[in-house]
Subunit: 451 residues, 2 copies
């Protein structure tokens, strides 16, 4: 049985959280810490903190908890003595995989592989997933260009580039960071690659009132992207690939139409660029399809699809041709963490048996309609309600008000997160049902009235 609602005992962070933060501060920065949690007591959609506050979690550890806290299916994985060796001994998966590795991949990652992908490379987090996908793209580009033998004679760093989009987020390690364009503070002081960056469409809302303007804006961005590819190719700094999120998440839940993505995919094919769809935040079911790019309805939507977060393990699906020609070109000590594959296999079973993709569609409908109502009710405060499935967001009039609203909501028992400069992103787990959506909307409304 799940908790029947939030239950608040103190402000958040409460006194116990504050003491723990003081303790932690002596060995680590705590400027980012919100509050400390009791992960044993948390359950389903409810996160319990160390002061006994029980909150409806619509942020889920930065969109990374797939089926709620302490789901019995996952607890069972942990108590199965057969799995003990996997949790206690971490294998170098690339060299000495465990007996069940293949089976767990087949019943896990491959059971939800996007159409057209028959190969997967496991990694450990979103950053190494993208870093290695970038490498796979560069290698593919050179090998396909037939210059490999030349390069074996003259090893060096070819002047290849990746095209990314303003407002995109693909991670914070140096390769990823070169394609991440959200907040300036993330890139400040860190050397980067000089690679082309295209505009991402800035759509006007409500969409049905600005159809023509938005179509023009998308056409402008597509033209800019294609121009950049042509120009950079001409100057010898070839664009080996294009990397994009199906919804720019960290950057502010920026959507573009399926038509935009369809045309962008066409451009990559026309110019021989790989197309990498970064589903680190969008993948795993919350849009109502397992992968957000499935909404585009394309037969050949991507060359590589990267994932992490709700997938528990990192990694990427790849077309056969992106498999490097030689060993140890894509490699590291662990190549993921098999314990996450074990857990993921159960997560996927739960998603299927409990029809959680349909659930996300239904709950998302309640949420989005509720958000539309709220922005009608508070037009001076809220705008641009948007989303697919439960992957929803809304804009608040300015950054300070947004941040205040996040705190107000939290003290009323709803954990939320911001994105972009003035947006709130909603990222519930897949077990978030219609009544949770109603509960969330009620509390959110209360919090707004206090502004």
């Amino acid at each position: 049985v799940e908790f029947d609602g939030p239950c608040m005992k103190t402000e958040v962070p409460g006194p116990r959280s504050k003491i723990l933060a003081q303790q932690l501060e002596s060995i680590q920065s705590v400027v980012q810490v919100n509050f400390f949690c009791d992960y044993e007591e948390s359950k389903g959609n409810y996160l319990v903190d160390v002061d006994g506050n029980r909150m409806l979690d619509v942020y889920t550890q930065i969109a990374s908890i797939p089926i709620g806290y302490n789901h019995p299916a996952l607890t069972k994985v942990m108590t199965d003595p057969k799995n003990m060796g996997t949790f206690v001994n971490r294998p170098a998966l690339g060299m000495m995989p465990p007996e069940q590795f293949s089976e767990k991949l087949v019943n896990g990652l491959m059971a939800v592989a996007p159409k057209g992908f028959s190969r997967v490379q496991t990694m450990a987090c979103g950053s190494c997933s993208n870093e290695n996908a970038y490498k796979a793209i560069f290698i593919w580009y050179r090998v396909r260009a037939g210059v490999l033998s030349f390069f074996f004679q003259v090893p060096g760093c070819p002047d290849l580039t990746l095209l990314s989009f303003m407002g995109g987020f693909h991670g914070r390690t140096l390769g990823c960071l070169a394609t991440t364009h959200t907040k300036a503070i993330q890139k400040l002081d860190v050397p980067s690659f000089d690679w082309p960056i295209a505009s991402f469409p800035q759509l006007r809302y409500p969409l049905d009132q600005f159809e023509r303007e938005n179509a023009r804006e998308e056409a402008r961005c597509l033209e800019e992207a294609e121009d950049l590819i042509v120009k950079w190719n001409q100057k010898g700094r070839h664009v080996a690939g294009v990397v994009i999120e199906p919804i720019q998440a960290e950057g502010g839940d920026n959507h573009a139409s399926f038509d935009f993505y369809t045309k962008l995919r066409g451009i990559t094919k026309k110019h021989g660029c790989a197309f990498l769809v970064d589903e680190v935040q969008t993948g795993g079911g919350s849009t109502g399809k397992f992968w957000a790019h499935e909404h585009w309805g394309l037969d050949d939507p991507a060359d590589i699809v990267s994932f992490s977060k709700k997938m528990l393990t990192g990694g990427y699906y790849q077309k056969d041709s992106f498999q490097p020609d030689k060993p140890f070109r894509i490699f590291n000590t662990w190549l993921g963490d098999h314990t996450k594959n074990l857990l993921l296999t159960e997560v996927i079973k739960v998603i299927k048996t409990e029809n959680l993709l349909d659930q996300a569609k239904r709950s998302g409908k309640v949420m989005l309609e509720g958000l539309y109502d709220l922005q009608d009710k508070y037009p001076h405060l809220l705008s641009k309600a948007r989303g697919i499935g439960t992957f929803c967001a809304i804009d608040v009039k300015d950054e300070d008000t947004r941040n205040l609203l996040l705190l107000k909501a939290r003290n009323k028992g709803v954990v939320l997160g911001g994105c972009g400069t003035q947006s709130i992103r909603f990222r519930p787990a897949l077990v978030f049902k219609e009544h949770h959506a109603h509960l969330f909307l009620d509390i959110f409304n209360d919090a707004i009235t206090e502004l």
Copy 2:
């Protein structure tokens, strides 16, 4: 009770491993796979494969198993119901850490912090540890230079660099890869940063016969490093930091004298460069001290020390001044994996109560003396036996012979790994005792006689 020796039933890989590799091949490259393992049956120093072969493991998943397979202290962590929530729900450690986070860091990472370090940043693997350490260095360099306010007005990518060494290995993500200089295939086709690279001393063995030459070689490398720093600073591409391993591990177990490191540390101080000591492979006790750089005997050996592998979690220790001035400059979704902190706390307890650092010294002595004997016995085949603690290596006359010897040893029940072009590295767990060393030497000798 531990197994009393290897027990071989088939060649390795055996028939079952081959079937599993065929299965895996349909979804993933298997060119790097050696054989499949039964991690439930493995124990202590013995790795059991899926064909029932039991092998003495002197490679330990690329130097990443600290206290052997299925150590009862680790099994206990897993069966403690108090820890269930940690294993099933992965927190975003930077924002919503679990109640015991601070305590586990104090009893884990901080209990073995190198002298002079009171702060630690957790990460998930060696690559993100170094990538973020690099970022911390760049940020520190700018902030210290007092140009932060300027850069907030003109955000951009400063032309800062890191100095690394030929033969060094610091990871394979794009930032790390710019400082990794081992095999050409690792860097081929991947864009990189143009940063200075200094020669690492190529010592001649036996060391006591080449004292003068080796001192000259080290002086040459130090001069080259200092020259590079001066020149790159002069051309405006300031060297913010120097990154080095205490022993170049992947690059071929290349050692330099403690005097070399002492002087290099002096050079970094003189020129205001941060000094990052990468202990991803050397850290965790196998040199007989918890950190290899402790052998240098310096009061202020480093500004940042990165770790992973046998530490189970990744991360780095840092001087206070390397803590970024603003939140979210060093950040990612998970910032490590708290389950690894739980396990590490127990690993450290075991290392202390069982005096495993002393054990590594004693076993290392047996190993190194045995290796000296072998190279005396087979001077046409073996040379350059070297090591500290059990962190030992030996060179084989050429790469093909080295690789053949690795296979012969494996079929006789010893798992070994190569490094560099023609070296074998020995990386047993800390529970490797004198009798394991003798056993290893006997089998290794047998394998050599078969060449």
